[in-house]
Subunit: 120 residues, 2 copies
């Protein structure tokens, strides 16, 4: 597989808010599905669905224990990476808020050149 494609697939997995919530709810522990449901407030089937996706991608692993299945990160290093991006993003957000006096349009990063649509 194309390397960049494979890399983008990791990002894509993390790019779904509820899936990211699920991963972060695990932290560095192994937790039963019910704990993930309680922590995220998502439905059981939705959690199960996302956990399957994460499991098949190799980001988490499931370990049966009696009637429970405990899920944890397959590699704790992933959490470190996520936290690094999180730290970077929070810095951007704070920086953007400091520039908050600009209008919402400017906040959307106006096109580099003046441009008007004739039909506009």
């Amino acid at each position: 597989m194309d390397e960049i494609k494979g890399l983008s697939e990791v990002f894509k997995l993390l790019g779904e808010p509820n899936r990211l919530r699920i991963l972060l709810s695990l932290g560095l522990e192994c937790r039963p599905v019910s704990a993930v449901i309680a922590a995220t407030g998502l439905s059981q089937t939705n959690v199960s669905f996302h956990l399957r996706t994460l499991r098949e991608a190799g980001l988490v692993r499931g370990e049966p224990n009696g009637p429970f299945v405990f899920y944890c990160l397959a590699d704790p290093e992933l959490l470190t990476l996520i936290e690094q991006v999180r730290h970077w993003q929070s810095g951007r957000v704070e920086s953007a808020e400091e520039n908050g006096a600009t209008s919402s349009r400017a906040g959307r990063s106006a096109a580099p050149r003046r441009r008007q649509r004739a039909s506009g």
Copy 2:
């Protein structure tokens, strides 16, 4: 905005293969759109579309120069973060290839418990 939602949006932006290709084609330089098109092989309008998305999200900035618009990363730190994840991912890929003797089903991370669908 919900912090995790905001974080997932960064990942989502990076989770689109062509958008990631565009970002990586910039590297640490400011480059005209035409260079991005040449480097990625994507159509002009598709590149422009993605650059707009990246620009509005604040990941890149565009600088007009004569008839050209040069784009670069708004924060070079982003490239560092991407490369870190890339390094992590390539380690996983190599590790998975070393375990390549397993069947494709096992490679897909079988469900934690034996499960058969009666209607299967």
